[in-house]
């Protein structure tokens, strides 16, 4: 029994069934140990970034700790983007990197890289095992930390000689599980309740912490009982079904008009597991200018970080919501009941008035309509996005009814996330016996090229992920910003020499379909979903298509650009009229 074999058995004891990785020199003892550990399934990716994103997607979809493995040096550095993504989006991961032997550390040895130092700002914690005796504590703490409180990535750097050292004397691994979440203080609940009782125009602002805190049911009960209009962050999508009558949609830069205006006019924000991210708030000084704030979060450091909380409720979100639901619901018919009712009706009327339209003119494919339709055809699907315009279209138009079904790189905004994240999600479902689970990856022609090598992994493991590639032959979001904010000085966004994506997919053994006319979309989507095994639908869309609405950078969220709405006669009276007319010609 050496350190590597002890570690492999410890992973099994932690409940790990799948790990994503790529072997190399300094991690070879661990890979050798996998031979004797059939309970661990290793997924061989084609680039270490794919391993990190796959573990990330696995964790997001399942709620379990995702594990990835790489060798030292370039193997470790290739993991970094996926680790950073997990840190910013609070994804539980344990990252294992090989390291040169302890005697060579600090000598600039072959493939020596100080990944421990490199990743200090982007991990919840990290360890270097200098001795095999360090392993029991480090491994147990790594998993406990990754999954407790606000989740995040933990790195274990593992020198080769430690992996090879005798570990026969070490005790069998004992998991520490997850720390119980601290309940909220009663005093903070009373402060929150006092603010709720005074509110006439309250809005619930829900974020990713709802799902992470396993508080979805408590959240839905709270919203239903209190009848308070609700907006969601990008990571909060799915906490409330898209079709819920109180769901005003996503707030922020590409948020819905109904959501942004409700927040701007609210007199109370009930913030649940959200962090006032700049993409959500726009110009912070002008965000929700009339609102007092109740802020619920498991992480004390988020409360008051960017916006003063009039009542900060630190602790387990599910417990907090459960304790507040009945007292808050009592105010539904209280002295502000009529005002609340009128406010709710106004919010809902705006949501109806400014609901997205899907009757775009022309014969070409209108991406929002395609995405909406696909989500209707696959209502139980999990969608993994890449980053760019297509990511925002998914956020705006995909019909979500369940949590953990929308996997998106929110904080880091990492192109290349989509394919491997979808891989991780599909494997997570298969691991729990749900072989019929549908995973769809929506990508763009820029993003997909960043990890397209993972098509080989889909083929190898027969992962039936369906890929929708929205191809506008450009880096669309950058192009849109250059159009709007850089006076159409387009710089390095042209991708018109893209490869033949259908041929690329075919070369990897992935069947491919193509569509470029709106009239053919329905049949193409049906064929994609009916395909056996992995399949790619290449969708040609207009290069000039933009994502609307859009709040310009450093502007107030009420200042939404939206030429579509400007053409709508009803919108002519909206408060955003001036901003709409400010759209560059």
């Amino acid at each position: 029994m050496n350190g590597a074999r002890w570690l492999a058995q410890a992973l099994v004891a932690e409940g790990v069934e799948t790990l994503f990785g790529y072997p190399g020199g300094t991690i070879m003892p661990f890979y050798d140990a996998l031979h004797g550990t059939p309970a661990l399934k290793h997924v061989l990716v084609r680039h270490e970034q794919g391993a990190a994103f796959a573990a990330n997607g696995y964790a997001r979809a399942s709620g379990r700790v995702g594990v990835c493995v790489a060798t030292s040096g370039p193997g470790a550095s290739n993991l970094v983007t996926g680790i950073a993504d997990a840190m910013l989006d609070s994804v539980p991961m344990v990252v294992i990197t090989g390291q040169v032997p302890t005697t060579l550390m600090g000598t600039d040895a072959f493939q020596e890289l100080d990944v421990f130092a490199m990743t200090l700002p982007m991990v919840k914690h990290s360890f270097i095992a200098r001795s095999v005796d360090d392993l029991p504590t480090m491994v147990a703490e790594a998993f406990r930390l990754a999954r407790s409180g606000r989740p995040g990535p933990v790195l274990i750097d593992l020198p080769k000689d430690v992996q090879m050292a005798d570990a026969a004397h070490l005790p069998a691994h004992a998991s520490l599980g997850r720390d119980p979440a601290e309940p909220p203080r009663d005093a903070s609940l009373h402060e929150a309740l006092a603010l709720v009782s005074q509110a006439q125009r309250p809005v619930v602002y829900g974020g990713g912490g709802i799902v992470l805190g396993e508080a979805v049911q408590a959240f839905r009960t709270f919203v239903d009982a209190t009848q308070i209009p609700t907006v969601l962050t990008l990571k909060g999508l799915g906490a409330l079904p898209t079709a819920h009558p109180l769901n005003l949609g996503m707030l922020g830069m590409h948020g819905s008009r109904a959501a942004n205006l409700a927040v701007q006019e609210a007199d109370l924000l009930i913030v649940v597991g959200a962090r006032f991210d700049d993409r959500a708030t726009g110009k912070l000084a002008e965000f929700a200018p009339h609102a007092r704030v109740v802020h619920m979060d498991i992480d004390a450091a988020e409360i008051g970080k960017l916006r003063h909380a009039d009542a900060g409720v630190r602790g387990d979100i599910a417990t907090t919501l459960t304790k507040l639901t009945l007292p808050c619901a009592a105010h539904l018919h209280g002295r502000h009941g009529p005002a609340r009712k009128a406010w709710r009706a106004q919010c809902q009327q705006r949501a109806r008035q400014w609901a997205a339209r899907y009757d775009a003119p022309g014969e070409g494919v209108y991406a929002p309509a395609l995405l909406k339709r696909l989500s209707e055809l696959a209502p139980r699907a999990t969608v993994a996005c890449d980053v760019g315009q297509h990511q925002m279209w998914v956020a705006q138009h995909w019909r979500l009814s369940q949590p953990r079904a929308h996997l998106t790189s929110g904080g880091l905004g990492a192109m290349g996330f989509g394919l491997p994240a979808a891989m991780g999600a599909q494997i997570a479902f298969e691991e729990c016996g749900d072989r019929g689970a549908q995973v769809i990856c929506v990508s763009g022609d820029g993003s997909i090229m960043m990890n397209i090598q993972e098509l080989a992994t889909f083929k190898r493991y027969r992962l039936p992920v369906k890929i929708v590639l929205l191809d506008n032959q450009a880096l669309g979001m950058v192009r849109q910003w250059q159009e709007l904010f850089f006076e159409k000085r387009y710089s390095e966004i042209d991708l018109s020499d893209n490869p033949d994506f259908a041929a690329v997919a075919a070369a990897f053994g992935i069947q491919a379909l193509h569509v470029d006319r709106a009239a053919d979309v329905e049949a193409a989507l049906q064929a994609l979903l009916a395909a056996d095994g992995p399949a790619l639908l290449h969708v040609a869309i207009d290069t000039a298509a933009n994502v609307w609405p859009l709040v310009p950078p450093n502007r107030c969220n009420a200042e939404m650009l939206d030429p579509d709405a400007a053409r709508d006669a009803d919108a002519a009276t909206s408060p955003t009229k001036d901003a709409t007319h400010a759209l560059p010609a």
């Binding site: 130092a117 914690h125 270097i128 703490e141 450091a301 970080k305």
Partner: protein, 78 residues
């Protein structure tokens, strides 16, 4: 504004770098640092003076989240 930080740290690899890096990334420049290993040999006692315009409570909360940070106090310098 200048603040005095009084920290008790686990004497672990990376603990000092994490504290210094967190202070700098969160908007506080270290002006002075001194400290010593405590008698039990397992902990460091660290004193830092930092300067920054952001709310010191935010820095305290971020430092308190570090696994190796066992205690932290932040006070305005006299």
């Amino acid at each position: 504004m200048r603040y005095q930080l009084d920290l008790t740290l686990r004497r672990a690899e990376g603990a000092l770098a994490r504290v210094l890096g967190t202070a700098e990334r969160r908007g506080f420049q270290p002006l002075s640092v001194d400290g010593e290993t405590q008698a039990d040999g397992d902990r460091w006692h660290l004193r830092m003076t930092v300067e920054g315009q952001r709310e010191p409570e935010g820095l305290q909360q971020q430092l308190a989240k570090l696994y190796d940070c066992l205690a932290v106090q932040v006070q305005p310098c006299a």
